[in-house]
């Protein structure tokens, strides 16, 4: 047990990599063996994540150094710098880890029967494991260069998965757009890393934060990082790839690509809060984040209500909901140097923004899965051609209702809990922003009502008479998320106290992140 606790940060990333390489070999032994293997490996990973989460919750920040026992290396004249590759796991990393693992588990179970009988399944599961490894690596990494590497791993795996159905022209197009956008933004991240490395000769995030001088060059690097990561997390006006890619990704991979974009959001927070945390004047960067957030909310929802493709509509909603998170966190960022405002509403806004990530990933993953379930049965995503499906697909319809009510912020589902936190705290910062947020929520409800009406209700359509409910593994995958949504909605206090508040504290408390690595540095 001790061994697992000590080595869990490395194992959580290494096991999926191992599985990704092993799956093509194991697939030779048959479909059943491979599926069992994937599930067993993933069960093991989930167990490790749980162990690590408990560990981080009790002992605080964990630093795991690869290949040696200490992160630092003393130079001959006594000066110590962190030179090793290391993982630094704090509350926020763990929070993202929990999200990604839950979604990936649900997606994996969902995919088992969805993918049944299709070609290239070995590659599909292999890429899913690779995507998971990339995301977890990004959440855990403690240095900037590995941030770039894991960003690229996640992008490559995500793009290959999005273009998985190569028999459809639009699937390849969506995957292509994703890889181009990801490659360009990752290269600009690398450029920013180069600028930082040129000045401070270190790559560790903690060391960079420790040495940071906030020169104009640093600010250029910050701008490049913010731009590139906002692109990856699909903030308006850099969101246009998101609908294209989310629409075409198959089965359980859309939720995983969605989670990948929130991992980029995590990277953005890590950069702005931890690396540039000592910035004297955070108002500018705070307002940049707020404006991107408000634009995302508004443009995303207005575009969504217009769509007729069910997954495209949900993708635009993903853009719009991303705006809520940016709004909440941006408000906190703008007031972080003002202790009174921070205590009064800044921390609550941040809690809301962070809490919304987990809520949104869960309900949006559920919604994407219901959309994919419809596609699985009737072969179209066009809502114009749907109708009366609730008669044939009762479980799917039920899950859709849960997801739709949660995303529209209807109590008692989880979306309401985090949106309320955002509304109330943003109201104290700027009432106009809060009103916009509420309006967006309203339009969200309207657009989901529209799709519910046109897809699930109405008279039975003669074309869909023989449509059956989706297979069991897909229902199990969706019900995991549905149960979590209801649980989070009923016990928001518990969730905020146990996982959201530690994540917020980890981001705001820059000093302890630095000390975990730089503690021994004179």
């Amino acid at each position: 047990m001790d061994f697992l606790t000590t080595n869990s940060p490395a194992l959580i990333v290494a096991l999926p990599l191992f599985a990704a390489f092993a799956i093509p070999l194991i697939s030779r032994a048959g479909e059943r063996t491979r599926n069992t293997f994937s599930l067993v490996i993933f069960g093991l990973i989930s167990f490790l994540v749980a162990i690590l989460a408990v560990n981080v919750h009790s002992v605080g920040i964990r630093v795991y150094t690869f290949g040696a026992t200490a992160a630092q290396m003393a130079l001959p004249h006594g000066y110590m710098v962190p030179v090793r590759i290391m993982f630094e796991v704090d509350g926020m990393s763990m929070f993202m880890g929990i999200i990604v693992t839950t979604v990936a588990l649900a997606a994996l179970i969902y995919s088992l029967q969805f993918m049944k009988g299709r070609t290239g399944q070995a590659r599909f599961y292999s890429l899913m494991m690779l995507l998971y490894a990339g995301m977890m690596g990004l959440a855990f990494t403690g240095d900037m260069f590995n941030l770039f590497v894991f960003l690229e791993i996640a992008s490559i795996a995500g793009a290959a998965l999005a273009a998985y159905r190569t028999n459809m022209a639009d699937a390849v197009e969506g995957g292509f757009k994703y890889i181009v956008i990801s490659a360009v933004s990752a290269l600009l991240v690398l450029f920013a890393i180069g600028i930082l490395y040129a000045q401070y000769d270190v790559l560790s995030i903690a060391a960079l934060a420790h040495f940071m001088q906030y020169t104009p060059l640093d600010m250029i690097a910050l701008a490049l990082l913010v731009g590139a990561l906002v692109m990856k997390l699909a903030g308006v006006p850099l969101h246009m790839w998101a609908p294209d890619t989310y629409t075409v990704a198959p089965a359980g991979t859309t939720p995983m690509i969605l989670a990948a974009s929130y991992i980029s959001m995590y990277a953005l927070y890590r950069v702005t809060f931890t690396m540039y945390g000592g910035l004297i004047n955070t108002t500018a960067i705070g307002w940049v984040v707020i404006i991107v957030g408000v634009l995302s909310m508004f443009v995303g929802v207005m575009m969504a209500v217009h769509q007729t493709d069910i997954k495209r509509m949900m993708a635009y909603h993903a853009v719009s909901q991303g705006g809520y998170m940016l709004l909440g966190v941006g408000v906190c960022l703008a007031v972080i140097t003002d202790p009174a405002a921070l205590a009064s509403y800044g921390r609550d806004a941040m809690n809301g923004g962070i809490f919304h990530i987990i809520n949104h990933v869960f309900y949006k993953a559920l919604l994407f899965m219901t959309a994919e379930a419809i596609f699985f049965r009737i072969g179209t995503r066009d809502t114009n051609k749907m109708g009366g499906l609730a008669r044939n697909m009762k479980w799917t319809a039920g899950f859709y209702i849960i997801g739709a009510l949660a995303i529209s912020g209807i109590p008692p589902f989880n979306g309401f809990a985090s949106k309320l936190l955002i509304y109330e705290s943003v109201l104290k910062f700027s009432p106009v922003l809060s009103v916009i947020a509420m309006f967006v929520s309203l339009v969200t409800l309207a657009s989901f009502a529209k799709v519910f009406y046109s897809a699930f209700t109405g008279p039975p359509m003669p074309a869909y008479e023989g449509v059956k409910e989706v297979p069991k593994s897909m229902i199990v995958g969706m019900s995991i998320l549905a149960v979590l949504i209801i649980f989070f909605g009923l016990f928001p206090g518990l969730i905020v106290d146990t996982i959201v508040a530690p994540a917020t504290n980890a981001l705001i408390d820059q000093a302890s992140y630095i000390n975990a690595v730089m503690g021994a540095v004179p």
Binding site: I153, A159, A169, D170, V172, E173, V180, F191, P243
Partner: protein
Amino acid sequence: MMESIPLNFPFLAAALLVGIALYIMLFKRNLIKLIMGVAMLASGVNLFIVALGYRAGGNAPIYTDVPPGPMVLSVPQALTLTSIVINVAVLALMLTMVVHIYRHTGDIDSEKSRKLRG
């Protein structure tokens, strides 16, 4: 000879590469040219990082039979190497996707081959 080249010449070259790459990516509608743009952007960034580690007159950072004298910083070279490897994978993936796009639509013009918009 080496002294006659200004030290920031590689940075100018990197800036030029990035500039050309951005021009290609933004204004060319041919998908293959777009990929060339991405490749050039990668080269520009890689050149930038390698140039960061250069010290005038330094040796290559390899201890096998090294002559005495200062060495070039090796970390940026390792970073560049990693980034090159990753870019090979990215470019291969992009090219494969363009081949698929061409197969489906018979065109590699991004305006004529698009299916997803609005």
